[in-house]
């Protein structure tokens, strides 16, 4: 048995994982009956169907010819995710302005980083977003950690 379509095989595995997780977690919720559906009824059935579909899809991974999955852009993934997470952490704790600089610098570092360019564009963006979101739309973000 050889996997001929990586994308089908692995998407099947992904669906099975989600399906089984749903069935497993939904066991904590009362199932009820058809006429009186409990909170566990719908997710359990969804999980069962998803698992079956997942199995069927992985099986096609051995039958059809796929193009392959290709490389993942690990570096961009890491930088962009970190940029987002730190922004979410920072905005309420140390303020809008530092959070903006953090997300812009980290995101830009995901690909051909040019320090001068990023510095200029981040200043422009911070001022623009401040004018638009805080002055214009009056979103209640603290600007810095002291207020």
């Amino acid at each position: 048995m050889k996997i001929t379509s990586q994308e089908n095989f692995w998407s099947g595995v992904m669906f099975i994982t989600f399906g089984l997780a749903a069935i497993f977690i939904a066991q904590d919720y009362p199932f009820g009956s058809s006429s009186r559906m409990g909170p566990g009824y719908f997710p359990t059935w969804l999980g069962i169907i998803l698992t079956l579909l997942g199995i069927a899809i992985s099986v096609t991974g051995f039958k059809v010819q796929g193009e392959g999955i290709g490389k993942f852009a690990w570096k961009a993934m890491a930088f962009l995710s970190t940029a987002f997470v730190l922004f979410g952490w920072a905005i309420d704790r140390i303020g809008f302005v530092p959070a903006m600089f953090i997300i812009i610098f980290l995101a830009a570092a995901g690909r051909d980083f040019r320090i001068k360019e990023v510095l200029v564009s981040s200043i422009v963006l911070v001022i623009g977003c401040w004018a638009l979101f805080i002055k214009g739309l009056e979103l209640p973000f603290p600007l810095f950690w002291w207020r």
């Binding site: 998407s11 993942f72 995901g110 690909r111 051909d112």
Partner: protein, 508 residues
């Protein structure tokens, strides 16, 4: 009180042409086009990004602006498709084919103009169609019970899977995954928290903006970074665009294409689950078949621009029909619109038309005005859009990232929302890698709680007897159509045709 079509439209125009609402419409169309021109942000991400900006507006204004953004992005997408061979969003992939070839032959002006005219014609027809078909449909919908709603949603979901590109089995699995994501949060009947993993921020369920922004915004940026988008496809047309107006011959040749494209778009748009992309692809295939000069297709045939552009706009517009009359969104974008309504404190559904006629008819009138504005706005501003495209992606994407982050955060001021966006962003990228189409998932995500609730009610009435779905005639009809869709889809000959429809423009 029965109101005539004329009274309704008059009320609509009265609402829409107030200075304030005209301004919202203009801002929406302008921003929409701007975002549509930028590669890598589709209509869905654009609306999700700009949704918070409409929170403080009155409901009519907010909806008018969002609708403006919506067809603005559609149109902006075609502008870049023609000028630089870069589809701004998926439905304009088709336009690249002949539009860009026309531009290379020095006929960018006529290509843009015919796209504008076609879109405007389609927009006008569909505005009328909504005005005529809306009220009777809403009337029928008021008679729907739980089984009918359940079957209708099932039909919409299956349609979205059948008409998505790629493997249908995967698309169906994506539906079930979307339904699962949809029921995260507190169960309305038992008050029990489901799949929240103890996080209080998930008690109200996953936010739509989070899922949409993750799958379509964040995931898309990753895909673009991976491709290195700066390098390819950016052969800017530096030639000055001279003759803007199409010749008489152009108009004569494209008139039929525009009408056919509009009909195709109106059909697919009204069907919940289908959308602009499949309409544009089908229209291209049809035009190629109908044309006297099929060998010209792919080398700059004006019908190849006129048909798909009209179809794409007609579908975008007619998608409002199921959304507004049945309260069932036909696409992810429409789901966002409904979300905006809910945020404004209006329960979507057939009753909107009678309870808030100013909102319903105002929106319809503003669609037409928005289309007119697009024609007026786009042609003179083409120079500006082209300039915008010369901004390299490495400068653009940090800005897009920032807007996304602020957009997500401003909905609930919750840092958890940002972390969840990262999760869905990485999921979106994985889906892309595994060639799983995310559009059916997002639709199912919205319909998840509705489907569960209607299933529960239907089975409660029937005392647990599932035959209730096939013994009630309207519900049975929807289910029969669903089965028919699946059967047609499984038929090898149709399957080949569908794959061809999606491949043809890409291949040639």
């Amino acid at each position: 009180m029965e109101m005539s079509l004329f009274d309704n439209l008059a009320l609509g125009f009265q609402t829409a042409v107030s200075l304030q609402n005209l301004a919202y419409c203009f801002i929406g169309v302008f921003i929409g086009t701007l975002v549509g021109v930028l590669p890598g942000i589709g209509p869905l991400a654009a609306i999700a990004m700009l949704l918070p900006a409409t929170f403080t507006l009155p409901p009519v204004g907010a909806l008018i602006m969002l609708a403006g953004i919506y067809y603005g992005t559609q149109y902006g997408g075609s502008t870049t498709a023609i000028l630089v061979n870069l589809p701004g969003e998926s439905a304009s992939v088709v336009t690249c084919m002949d539009g860009y070839q026309m531009a290379k032959n020095g006929r960018a002006g006529p290509a843009l103009a015919i796209a504008a005219v076609g879109s405007f014609f389609a927009g006008t027809v569909c505005t009328m169609l909504i005005a005529v078909a809306g009220p009777p449909l809403a009337e029928i919908a008021l008679k729907f019970g739980a089984p009918e709603y359940f079957s209708l949603m099932a039909m919409g979901l299956i349609a979205s899977a059948v008409l998505a590109s790629g493997s249908m089995l995967k698309a169906i699995a994506m539906i079930f995954l979307g339904l699962l994501f949809g029921i995260v949060g507190t169960d309305v009947n038992s008050g029990m928290s489901r799949f929240t993993f103890g996080a209080s921020g998930l008690a109200d369920g996953l936010s739509f903006v989070v899922v949409a922004m993750g799958l379509f915004g964040f995931g898309e940026i990753l895909a673009n970074l991976e491709k290195g988008q700066d390098a390819k496809g950016r052969d800017l047309l530096t030639k000055k665009i001279e003759h803007l107006y199409p010749t008489w011959q152009d108009i004569k040749v494209s008139a039929g294409s525009i009408v056919r494209g509009t009909s195709i778009g109106a059909f697919f748009g009204t069907l919940p689950g289908a959308g602009p992309t499949i309409s544009a692809f089908s229209s291209y295939a049809l035009e190629k078949k109908m044309a006297k000069n099929p060998e010209q297709f792919g080398k700059g045939a004006i019908q190849g621009v006129a048909g798909p552009e009209s179809a794409n706009n007609a579908a975008a517009q007619c998608a409002f029909i199921p959304t507004l009359t049945l309260g069932i969104p036909g696409s992810g974008t429409m789901a966002l619109m409904l979300g905006a309504l809910t945020i404004q404190g209006i329960a979507p559904g057939p009753q909107v038309m009678t309870q808030r006629p100013d909102l319903f008819w105002g929106l319809i009138a503003s669609m037409w005005i928005g289309n007119a504005l697009l024609v007026i706005l786009n042609l003179p501003l083409i120079g500006l859009w082209v300039k915008l495209l010369s901004v390299p992606y490495r400068l653009l994407f940090p800005a897009i990232t920032v807007f996304m982050a602020i957009g997500v955060y401003s909905v609930n001021n919750l840092d958890l929302d940002i972390y969840m966006t990262v999760f869905f962003g990485l999921m979106g990228y994985l889906f892309l890698k595994l060639k799983c189409e995310p559009a059916p998932l997002i639709l199912a995500f919205v319909l998840g709680p509705l489907m569960e609730e209607n299933l529960r009610r239907a089975l409660l009435i029937s005392r647990g007897d599932p035959t209730v779905f096939i013994t009630r005639p309207i519900s049975a009809t929807f289910l029969a159509l669903t089965v028919l869709l699946l059967v047609i889809m499984l038929a090898p000959s149709f399957r080949k045709k569908r794959d061809l429809a999606y491949q043809e423009p890409a291949a040639s």
